[in-house]
Symmetry: C2
Subunit: 196 residues, 2 copies
């Protein structure tokens, strides 16, 4: 990693932290360069606009992380129902990257930037579709291997699971307490067990 590409990456990481905590709109470039200790000249050498940086955060920070935590685990399992539960539990209670009071980075950005920034919507939609497709495929495979009841509709279930996840993260924010996560997880388990 050259010094320059290191500067770029530092900006993206620190900016992500700020945006995850404070939202995109309320995070100013002056704030980003203050916390990264990078000058405005350096910032604008690497990113033509604030939005270009925002898109880069999604593609270069959020996307790879999501690949590891949302996509790969589901691709390497023969038991999607159990894996979905484990994944969700990990994401809500154990993942050090995600914080109760700040919600879900992708969910936050989706709510904030859609529909008013087409570019953001586009890359976020790609992310979401990849997640959704992965869930659907894993359930379809589960049906084929008779781990999942063949009456299950993978698309519907995918929407239901993803929605409830995004939603409960919003509840976590407002209650600022993991109790709601625990209650949610119990009900999620009951729901998932009915898919067997």
């Amino acid at each position: 990693m050259t010094k320059a590409s290191n500067t770029r990456h530092t900006i993206l990481e620190k900016a992500f932290d700020l945006i995850y905590k404070k939202s995109y709109q309320t995070t100013s470039i002056d704030e980003i360069i203050a916390t990264t200790k990078v000058t405005k000249g350096a910032f604008y050498y690497h990113f033509k606009t604030k939005d270009e940086m925002g898109i880069a955060i999604i593609n270069e920070i959020i996307k790879p992380t999501m690949q590891d935590t949302f996509i790969l685990p589901l691709q390497n399992t023969s038991n999607p129902i159990e894996k979905i539960y484990q994944m969700t539990k990990f994401l809500l209670l154990e993942n050090p990257f995600l914080k109760l009071e700040y919600g879900c980075p992708t969910g936050n950005l989706t709510q904030e930037m859609t529909p008013w920034n087409i570019e953001f919507s586009k890359v976020l939609k790609e992310l979401v579709i990849e997640w959704q497709t992965t869930i659907e495929i894993s359930l379809q495979k589960g049906i084929e291997s008779q781990k999942v009841n063949n009456k299950v509709n993978p698309k519907q279930v995918a929407y239901f699971i993803m929605s409830s996840y995004w939603g409960i993260r919003n509840f976590g924010k407002i209650y600022n307490n993991t109790d709601c996560y625990h209650a949610y997880l119990k009900e999620l388990k009951l729901y998932l067990n009915n898919l067997h």
Copy 2:
């Protein structure tokens, strides 16, 4: 309604529209007074700060509307399971007040203002708790009248339903298409039927 209180209410309604569409942070007071055709002097006569207006919108616009569409229907039903489905379907597909591409007003504000504005968090939390309590009580009544299986845990189910609703509104935003609502509703029906 006096002329003054009419001015106040106009500001709140128009500001709500803008904030629902564009978010709170990106809606400026100049924009609000431009669309309401009210002067800055009038605005600041009625509201000491922008945040005071924001809180007023929640208490005087969102709360009463929510009372009518989220609370009362559930209080006047003997069959909560069926009513929850009907309500959700109405909210997603028929309510003229809510728009696919703009999501859920309360969900948007929660995501945007929590945890960074304590005052907003407080009133939003009150709103959410009222909704949650209503669902729980209606399910409890349903258990007592044997419309709902007595193994059902009202608190857990309430979280699950509310979460999935907030979440699917986020999906509606990003897909900008009601297909996801229809798929979600089908799965919601299956889930709810298992509570009988």
